[in-house]
């Protein structure tokens, strides 16, 4: 992988209702990097994630994924980008309830994406501790198990970049650890993770953390501990409140 997985240049998005979006974001994620995004509520974290992944079109600036400018792409091309280069892990598990775990893991391939062998998918489930769940439906699984299926898909499909929105938000400690360990594996394979989180403990596992306030990147912290991140977040939250006043 030679191209930069993700590059955002002066990316801006404003909601029609006038709510805060993102403003003049410049971010670059190198291959094999893990970036967390934190900030007070309403700072634009999820908006940044959606714009970076092409789910929301930026109103200004550009977004490059795997060296291609997605801000100018049509829906058909975006669909192909999502299928071939992007993985998603959402807080609410992102699984199609009607499909089995195996089908969910192979989803991108089933819709014409890069080939995923059945053995490959089963192996990914096994790695995530979901042996024997191949024919199980999400409705019959716990939240943690479902999230691990999402991660298994990210492992099996080999996307260039994985976008995760509060991936551990609804999980217990043990399940959260399993998810974060899986992200470690993804990084080791040379792929990239961009993750939104409220939890300093989770963010501390990342290589760096971006702090957003009012849609703008306020600071970038590398190598911070969870306590430092928590303190920094508290400061950001107070700052956001003051600015709001």
């Amino acid at each position: 992988m030679n191209e930069i997985p993700l590059s955002m240049s002066t990316a801006t998005y404003h909601y029609v209702s006038g709510g805060p979006g993102i403003d003049d974001i410049n971010v670059q994620c190198e291959p094999g990097s893990w970036t967390a995004v934190m900030g007070p509520s309403g700072a634009g974290k999820s908006t940044l994630l959606y714009c970076a992944s092409g789910l929301l079109p930026v109103s200004d600036g550009s977004v490059y994924i795997a060296g291609r400018d997605i801000s100018k792409m049509r829906e058909k091309q975006l669909t192909q980008m999502r299928r071939d280069h992007i993985g998603f892990v959402f807080q609410d598990y992102n699984l199609v309830e009607a499909f089995t775990c195996l089908q969910n893991v192979m989803l991108t391939y089933l819709f014409g994406g890069p080939k995923i062998l059945k053995d490959q998918a089963l192996r990914a489930l096994q790695v995530m501790g979901l042996d024997g769940f191949a024919d199980t439906y999400p409705a019959d699984m716990s939240g943690g198990q479902r999230q691990r299926v999402s991660i298994a898909r990210a492992l099996a499909a080999e996307p260039d970049i994985v976008f995760a929105d509060e991936p551990t938000g609804a999980l217990d400690t043990h399940s959260s650890q399993m998810v974060l360990d899986a992200f470690d594996r993804i990084i080791q394979e040379g792929r990239t993770v961009l993750m939104v989180t409220h939890d300093p403990n989770v963010a501390a596992r990342a290589h760096r953390t971006l702090f957003l306030v009012d849609g703008r990147v306020h600071s970038v912290c590398e190598g911070y501990s969870s306590e430092q991140l928590a303190s920094h977040l508290a400061n950001m939250t107070n700052m956001g409140q003051e600015l709001g006043q």
Binding site: M1, Y50, L55, L56, E75, K76, T79, Q80, R82, R83, D84, I86, F88, N94, L95, V96, E97, A98, F99, T100, Q103, M106, L107, T108, Y109, L110, F111, G112, G113, P114, K115, I116, L117, D119, Q120, R123, A124, Q126, V127, Y137, R153, L155, A156, E158, R185, I186, Q188, E189, G190
Partner: protein, 680 residues
């Protein structure tokens, strides 16, 4: 890129392209199987609805073909030509009636199946959103949906077509009376045709899958994030496209309904207008329903307290759900009642156009030749009170190479040649009536295209041919539909050996005040006549006969109502099913299950009432257009048939069913939720 560190084998370049494609296709259909398994419970009502639609459509189409192929027609070889043709009339009737019923059934089915499928697809929008986010192209999702829905739709349509076809003999019995089989002494025995069942199946499948395609395509146009958040399709504002289309259709309706066009006959205008109104109502349903429930809901809010307030707010906020419930009511009332009005008006209007202007003050009908002679002689005694008397003896004859039955009329030559302006005589277009005599005849230009000098063979009841020459072209006297006068001759020119003898004597009184007296005197003559009618009574008889001929419309009403009720119940069940979570929360904060159920019932009634109000406006446009058309033709608008009774009855039935269904569904959902102790 290697996955070795994750312990996942590398995909490499294993297998050839064919194997890759084969594996992918197999797995794609495994997705279809999974969707079918996951959503099977949601198909039940759709299955029932499309089954009913297929059943009705296939049975009436079977009847159409049975009529066209003349199933059960008697051996006519021993009959004369006249009776052979007469035996064909009921088959023509059943063909026409079943064709109309098929069109109505298909129309209702199309709109309601579209709404039904659309609702189910909208329930899946989060699922489709997830697929889109994971790289599913729109075409793939459409293909997936088509494959998924094709299975239950194919099953329901297949069973519906089979059952409908098997019910053909039963439905045929219902049509038998309306098509007047009994009048000619024939029993109708329609055959069941496999090919018709197959055509119906294909037609319904195309309709249903088109509905799936339209619904999923719309979902596919939305951004995946919108679908994922279920921001909805349900709560989206009505697009500009819908508003513009609705306005455009309104303008077209105004033009077609009220602007005079020479080329548009009353029947054609009315049919076209009805179809346009139906399409306009369907397109603008979400806009109209919101307005209607907002207004009508004020009544509920005022009288219904908390339950009424909740019902109104839910009806206003859940646009797609309200429109789905209101749509069956709108479609049934608009389609069925409008068609009834159009057919009745067409028949009445046609009758009135034939009757106007009727110059005669009295019309005396006799079916016995000897009594006709006696009447004529007796009327001479009333000479001073009568301005003009014309007697036309008529019989039905046939001509070779034609499937029609023609009326031959005989008249007294003196009455005919006098050309008295107050008399009821035909208008001569070409030639002269003075040339009519033995072997020479006048021809009515309305139904026949002969010219002066042409030779015509007339066939009597013994199938003997009588060769005559055309010496005049005429228009039959106006205002007498019983006097078609296809051929006119004078007494003793042609033997009276046709079928169905009827003598029509028209009387113009010297003064209108003497009409009643003359009528009484005729009765006192002790001549056996079929009837003595004043001008008004004669007109009313034909108008009534025209309306009664619409007996088969009852079949349309019943069939349409059945379909609409099934779809209505389906829409209510689906709409209330998605409320179970909200209702459970209300229950948790202290609202009684009874109030919740009551609110659900009121909301459904409100939606149906909204649909009824819209249908009332639509039907009113159709009726108003008919009134304008009647007036323009010189007819009284009082003759426009107002379908208040049928409309009110259908609306009342719909509201009662809606209320009962909603109460039941809400109560059942609540019980289920309370037992499970959680919401899904």
């Amino acid at each position: 890129m290697s996955n070795s560190s994750a312990g996942v084998p590398h995909s490499g370049q294993h297998g050839n392209a064919t194997k890759h494609v084969a594996l992918q296709n197999t797995t794609f259909f495994s997705l279809v199987r999974s969707l079918l398994a996951a959503h099977h419970s949601s198909y039940f009502v759709m299955f029932l609805a499309t089954f009913a639609a297929s059943l009705v459509t296939s049975s009436v189409l079977q009847l159409y073909y049975a009529g066209k192929k003349r199933d059960g027609a008697p051996n006519v070889q021993s009959m004369n030509r006249y009776h052979q043709l007469l035996a064909d009339v009921p088959y023509q009737n059943v063909t026409m009636t079943s064709l109309v019923a098929s069109v109505c059934s298909l129309l209702v089915s199309v709109f309601l199946v579209l709404a039904s499928v659309k609702f189910l697809v909208q329930e899946r929008q989060r699922e489709y959103g997830l697929m889109r986010i994971n790289g599913a192209a729109r075409t793939r999702i459409i293909l997936l949906a088509l494959c998924e829905f094709a299975v239950p739709l194919a099953l329901s349509n297949m069973f519906g077509c089979i059952c409908g076809s098997l019910l053909t003999p039963v439905v045929g019995k219902i049509f038998e009376g309306a098509a007047e089989f009994h009048d000619v002494g024939i029993a109708f025995h329609p055959c069941v045709r496999f090919s018709v069942g197959l055509y119906t199946f294909l037609l319904m499948m195309i309709t249903c899958l088109t509905g799936v395609w339209l619904a999923v395509r719309k979902i596919g146009l939305l951004p995946p994030l919108v679908l994922l958040r279920q921001e909805s399709v349900k709560r989206q504002k009505n697009g500009a496209g819908r508003k513009i289309t609705s306005l455009f259709l309104l303008v077209v309706i105004a033009v077609v309904g009220f602007v005079p066009f020479e080329a548009l006959t009353l029947d054609l205008r009315s049919m076209l207008l009805t179809v346009l109104v139906i399409v306009c109502v369907y397109v603008s349903a979400p806009i109209l329903v919101y307005g209607a429930v907002s207004v009508l809901g004020l009544i509920l809010e005022h009288f219904g307290k908390g339950a009424g307030l909740l019902a109104r707010q839910r009806a206003r906020s859940g646009k797609a759900g309200s429109a789905a419930i209101a749509l069956p009511a709108m479609m049934l009332l608009t389609i069925v009642v409008s068609f009834l009005a159009v057919f009745s008006a067409g028949s009445v209007g046609g009758s009135l156009l034939m009757l106007d202007p009727l110059k005669a003050d009295l019309v005396v009908t006799s079916e016995i030749p000897e009594q006709t002679v006696k009447l004529s002689q007796s009327l001479k005694g009333l000479d001073k009170e009568l301005r003009a008397v014309n007697t036309y003896e008529t019989q039905d004859w046939t001509i070779p190479d034609s499937d029609d039955i023609f009326q031959v009329a005989w008249s007294d030559s003196q009455e005919l040649f006098d050309g008295n302006k107050s008399a009821i005589t035909p208008k001569v277009i070409k030639g002269s009536l003075k040339n009519v005599g033995p072997g020479r005849i006048a021809v009515n230009q309305d139904r026949l295209t002969y010219d002066i000098g042409d030779k015509v063979s007339l066939v009597d009841k013994y199938d003997n041919k009588h060769q005559v020459e055309v010496v005049a072209i005429i228009d039959a006297p106006k205002g007498l539909p019983s006097l078609g006068m296809d051929f006119l001759t004078v007494n003793d020119s042609l033997p009276k050996v046709g079928e169905n003898y009827v003598a029509i004597t028209t009387i113009v009184a010297d003064s209108s005040s003497k009409v009643n007296s003359i009528s009484q005197q005729i009765r006192d003559l002790n001549v056996k006549v079929a009837r003595i009618e004043s001008r008004q009574a004669y007109i009313d008889r034909f108008v009534t006969r025209g309306v009664e001929g619409q007996k088969a419309n009852l079949i349309m009403i019943v069939g349409g109502a059945t379909l609409a009720l099934i779809f209505l119940m389906q829409s209510i069940a689906i709409s209330l099913g998605e409320r179970s979570q909200q209702n459970y929360r209300l229950y948790q904060i202290g609202v009684s299950p009874r109030s919740i159920a009551w609110s659900g019932g009121l909301e459904s009634v409100l939606d149906v009432a909204g649909g009824t109000l819209i249908a009332l406006a639509s039907v009113s446009i159709v009726e108003l257009s008919l009134a304008v058309a009647f007036t323009r033709e010189g007819l009284s608008y009082m003759y426009v048939p107002i379908q208040i009774g049928k409309f009110s009855l259908l609306a009342a039935v719909l509201m009662v069913i809606a209320f009962a269904t909603a109460i039941f569904c809400t109560h059942w959902n609540m019980q289920r939720t309370m037992q499970s102790g959680s919401t899904k």
